[in-house]
Amino acid sequence: MASSDKYDRQTRLWGAHGQRALGEARICLLNAGPTGTESLKNLVLPGCGFVTVVDGEKVTEGDVGNNFFVSRADIGSPRAEVTLSHLLEMNPDVSGEARCVDPSDLIGGEPGFFEGFSLVIASQLQRDALLSLSAVLWSMNVPLIAVRSYGLVGSMRIARPVHVCFEAKEAQAVADLRIANPFPALQAFADAVDLKSCDDETHRHLPYPVLLVKLMGEYAAEHGGQPKTFAQRKAFAKWVGTQRRDITTDEGVPIWEENFDEAVANASKASLPTPLRPDVADVLADAKLDALESTDDDFWFLARALRDFRAAEGKGESLPVSASLPDMTATTALYLRLNEAYKLQATLDRAAFCAHLERAREAAGCDEKRPVSEGVIDRFLASCQSIKVMRYRPIAMELSARAAEDGAAAAAADPAAADGEAEAQGQYTSAVKEAVAELQMMGETNVSMCPALWAVMLRAADDFQCATGRFPGAGASPDLIADAAEVAKYAAVHAAGYGVADHVTEEHAQEITRYGACEPHVVAATMGAVVAQEAVKLLTQQYVPVDNTFIFNGIATTAAVATL
């Protein structure tokens, strides 16, 4: 009699609601080579909803043995159909369709096809097709993951105008217990306590938020206000520690009051309101909150309500109180009583929050009949210390990058023309330079294996392909030396743009040329796993996806993330 839920162990990571989001996802894969099918495999297994495989090739001898989802018997059959059927065999919960057409034809001829997908994974797509696809998806706000395995190097790029994370789950968000600005029920609890006359049992079991509210009241009365400087706060904390009682058991054994340890450790919270985490502050300051439209994602209305709540009920410094109280020294009775106080405030705050939410939705003309679900509101409030908004850089901007000086020079020569051009053109970001500098800072003298440099090399290989119609080192009988020299020229331009000219060498060009654009399964398997990992983040709106490029260097087994 075994466990019946095959998703049990992953649901522990992203919850039933995350699993639901995954189960409703429609995913489109372009090109069913090893990297593409491995990516999809890792999404079919955990139970994504529906997959569409787009591939125009027939299965060849070369696929067999390098792609786990084709077999010898499939040679000559459409690769989209073959891989789809093998993929779906792994999980009966998932359904899908095959489109036996070249992805570039679909992108150019039928862009509307991509409407309605939750995610598009483009594997081994050449540059011009990728640029068209990313423009199409960008306008639909459909997330794109572009992935490639290239010899021992792999890269993955995410593009999407805006991505919202409901549960970023980054650093542990510190719960705001409202000690610095107690709500009425907490204040009343503290007021009812008499530290002088209460019995020892109570004294050593008073929960520390109550102790701090109480003691801060006494301190403020005596000193004409709360501590304001670092030194005063230190002094307050010290004073809190002196308020212990000498308690002993009946046998005369001293009892140390642990609740006072907790109070001393948290003393600064009594005069400093819990600050917003920077990511949350960014969300609340987002211009989008003042221009909501009825078609916008629930997230934005919830964020707007959060901002309005903080300004009104939160008096500019508090978010809604959480109903769950962390563990602390207390008797059960005192703990439960305190928890009741927090629950009561949480209920009041939730009601106020929902009123703000309603107003914001009404103002934007949202459909009353399709309210934000109670479960979504609860989860949002439970994790409102861990929300985040990400805005990706368009792929077009990355690929049209020119060095900052070039842009400035062009602007000086012809201000009007440069203005228009700046719209479409980006600049080289500093990410590659920073990645190299970071390695150097860590004492690495040989930075040639820095993964970010290999992103520069992939770009050079693409330049070569755009110019010649083939990848360096590929084709019938390539001249490896000539190809490498050509690649090195392209690489030098980008290396200069990224500010790493000194670090991109001939050896890099030779290595990239040696690969001949092959797609070894072992790199594909690793890249496919990374893609699926990021796909789960994008689909569940949990965790923080990569911003924006992941580069895997299989030569040294290192990897890095860079914003390109």
Binding site: Q10, A171, F230, R514, C518, H521, V522, A525
Partner: protein, 698 residues
């Protein structure tokens, strides 16, 4: 890309790795330990790279919950050997590779997995999900000088790296998180967290349907005049039955042992009687026992949580819930009500004993708690919540309880696939014979935790000199601890294979045995200690005996300096005679007592000579300095420098970035609590404006 499609697999790998490396890949023998989530991925990757001689070991059979990560398995394979099915499934993908040899067995205890077995491979790759097996494979690889590639995953985090004895850290160079255990009295009397109640519920499971005498809740019955029949008839009378309550009146006597005694067939086959028995058990456990504890006075004076007795009558709606849960379980994701907990507890007990097969297994004490057994899980979840409610502790959903009770570590296909891919890469690199310092990169993933890092590489740290596995003279003794006697160990193994003359044996007492009677250690020297012990099997020796995993230290007064630590690994020789048991002993590792003594003697002599020399030099320098200037002498530096050299290696391992994550190593913690996250937590007492500048904004 058209070119790669035409090139074919072999050409692809020749292009990236080169022909000689690919020949090594084809001809090398590789052992994969584990055919689970990582193992399935790994086998596929290795076969597609072109590894020609693969063997795989796994002791498990396929379970339904494996299907969504262990993609080589299909529903029709449930119940079959993982290693066999995995080997079959991947072999077809590279017909030119030889067949994959599969072994269905326990890598630690299986007799065939000897040192020679390990020596038969060029490379060993771990794809395991538990600490004990990884430690063992690590130890075997160190002893047989095999390169090991170690990998593991927990949720979104994982790691893969190469271990080469002496050149890199080993699996045990870093301390492992220890499984939390709780004092027995916290479980029995003073719980204050849900986890204590869950531990209690698991003990209760053992008491009710499992190995009762080994449950911490077992209270020996001093009244042998109650035949089992009495138990059943008393219980059948229902919760108001007097006998149990009477028992509670006398302090010290158990108020629940009789009520939880397994019902006889007459009761089990009578629905009403069985229901009454279940209610009797409920009443004894959640009302009478609590009342008794409260009546014992000061037991709860200092406790965080003071219990309230829970009569069944307070559990509103338990009858309906009991009825409902007989046919369908409660929703797993919602915290149940009190009535639902009570109903589910009763119905789980009734289901257990109305099913003849389960009843029989329970009577024989054969039902061990298994989180994947829905009925066992239901019983534990309901009992844990009822326990929690009596102590005013929050109740949890069955899903949450299962996490804690089963030590369930979250697992996801994607992380396993990354780890396997990296292990396969490392395998090729290891065979390519890169310089260990170059090839041995540790790879740490912190994929889910932040957008910052997904996979990151790091140099594998050097061995930890303080490591108990790779830092000292060690041997592994594979033997049958239940059958090999102390005499056989001394005469045959220590004096025989290892060359001791008068071995002195020392091992630490098992934790449970530690106490005034046995002390904290067991030590034995023939001719001095009780000779009657010689005839005992190792496991039966005092202080808990020598059991699998025990570290035994042996030294010798006659051979000064000969000292070895032996890890004993139990290998079952059931059915073998005395000679067969002796013959089955295997010593793994190079150690010879006479040689160790000789080496120690030499080292000592050398040290003495050096000391004499440096003392002489110091004296000479001091004399010279004194004559020259009468000023301060720095000749001490020589001696100090010697000491500091030796210390140098020990401070290099403070490396937070490589953290060990072990599937099944302990209770799961949210990914955000990993070391890198906690390091970033801002200091609370900082008055400065929080630093908000980010990279790229400057």
């Amino acid at each position: 890309m058209a070119s790669s499609a035409a090139a074919g697999r072999a050409a692809v790998y020749h292009a990236v790795f080169g022909a000689d490396v690919m020949e090594k890949v084809r001809s090398s023998k590789v052992l994969v330990v584990g055919a689970g989530g990582i193992g399935c991925e790994l086998l596929k990757d290795l076969v597609l790279v072109g590894f020609g001689h693969l063997e795989v070991v796994d002791l498990d059979t396929i379970d339904v919950s494996n299907l969504n990560r262990q993609f080589l398995f299909r529903p029709q394979h449930v119940g079959q050997s993982k290693s066999a099915i995995a080997a079959q499934a991947v072999a077809s993908f590279n017909p030119r590779a030889g067949p994959i040899v599969s072994h269905h067995g326990n890598i630690i205890r299986g007799r065939m997995f000897s040192a020679d077995f390990f020596r038969g491979f060029d490379l060993v790759i771990n794809a395991l999900d538990n600490q004990a097996a990884r430690s063992h494979v690590n130890r075997m690889c160190l002893a047989t000088r095999r390169t090991l590639i170690e990998g593991g995953s927990t949720g979104f985090a994982g790691q893969a790296h190469t271990i080469r004895g002496g050149a890199t850290l080993c699996y045990d160079c870093r301390p492992k998180p220890v499984q939390k255990s709780f004092p027995v009295c916290t479980i029995r009397s003073t719980p204050d967290k849900p986890v204590h109640c869950i531990a209690w519920a698991k003990e209760l499971h053992a008491l009710l349907v499992g190995d009762a005498p080994n449950s911490v809740l077992y209270e020996p019955d001093d009244a042998p005049d109650h035949p089992p029949a009495a138990a059943s008839s008393a219980a059948a009378a229902g919760p108001t039955a007097a006998p149990a309550a009477d028992a509670g009146a006398s302090r010290g006597e158990s108020v629940y042992m009789r009520a939880v005694r397994r019902p006889d067939d007459a009761v089990c086959d009578d629905t009403a009687a069985l229901a009454a028995w279940a209610r009797g058990a409920f009443d004894a456990l959640f009302r009478l026992e609590i009342e008794k504890k409260l009546s014992m006075g000061d037991a709860y004076r200092t406790a965080r949580c003071r219990p309230t007795p829970l009569p069944l009558s307070r559990c509103h709606g338990f009858e309906a819930a009991c009825e409902a849960t007989l046919s369908a379980p409660l929703p797993a994701h919602r915290t149940p009500t009190l009535g639902e907990c009570a109903g589910s507890f009763l119905s789980a007990l009734q289901t257990f004993f109305s099913d003849p097969a389960r009843r029989q297994a329970a009577r024989e004490g054969r039902v061990a708690f298994d989180k994947d057994d829905d009925l066992s899980m239901r019983l534990v979840a309901a009992a844990a919540n009822l326990r929690a409610i009596t102590f005013g502790i929050e109740a949890l959903s069955e899903f949450e309880i299962k996490s804690i009770a089963g030590n369930i570590v979250p697992a996801v296909a994607t992380t396993n696939a990354v780890v396997a891919g990296l292990e396969a890469m490392e395998a090729v690199r290891a065979l390519a014979g890169r310089d260990p310092a170059d090839a041995s990169y540790a790879v740490v993933l912190s994929t889910g935790i932040s957008g910052g890092r997904t996979v990151s590489g790091d140099v594998v740290p050097p061995p930890n000199p303080a490591c108990s596995e790779c830092g000292r003279a060690r041997v592994i003794l594979r033997l049958d601890t239940k059958r090999l006697t102390l005499r056989q160990l001394i005469r045959g193994v220590l004096c025989g294979a290892l060359g001791f003359e008068e071995p002195n044996i020392l091992f630490a007492a098992a934790e449970a045995e530690e106490g005034a009677a046995t002390g904290s250690h067991f030590s034995f020297l023939e001719d001095e200690d009780d000779a009657s012990l010689l005839g005992l099997p190792l496991a039966a020796l005092p202080a808990g005996g020598v059991t699998s995993g025990k570290l035994v230290t042996v030294d010798d007064f006659a051979l000064d300096g000969a000292r070895v630590e032996a890890v004993v690994v139990h290998v079952d020789c059931e059915g073998g005679g005395e000679e067969a048991v002796a013959a089955a002993v295997e010593v793994v590792g190079d150690f010879s007592a006479p040689e160790a003594a000789r080496a120690a003697k030499e080292a000592k002599a050398k040290q003495a000579a050096q000391q004499a020399a440096s003392a002489a030099a110091a004296a000479a320098a001091a004399a010279a300095a004194a004559t020259a200037a009468g000023g301060d002498s720095d000749s001490d530096d020589d001696i100090v420098a010697e000491g500091s050299d030796a210390d140098e290696g020990s401070d290099g391992s403070d490396d937070d970035d490589v953290f060990e994550i072990l599937e099944g190593a302990g209770p799961p913690s949210p990914p955000s609590e990993d070391s890198s996250a906690s390091r970033k937590r801002p200091r609370e007492d900082e008055d400065d404006e929080p630093k908000r500048a980010r990279l790229g904004e400057a």
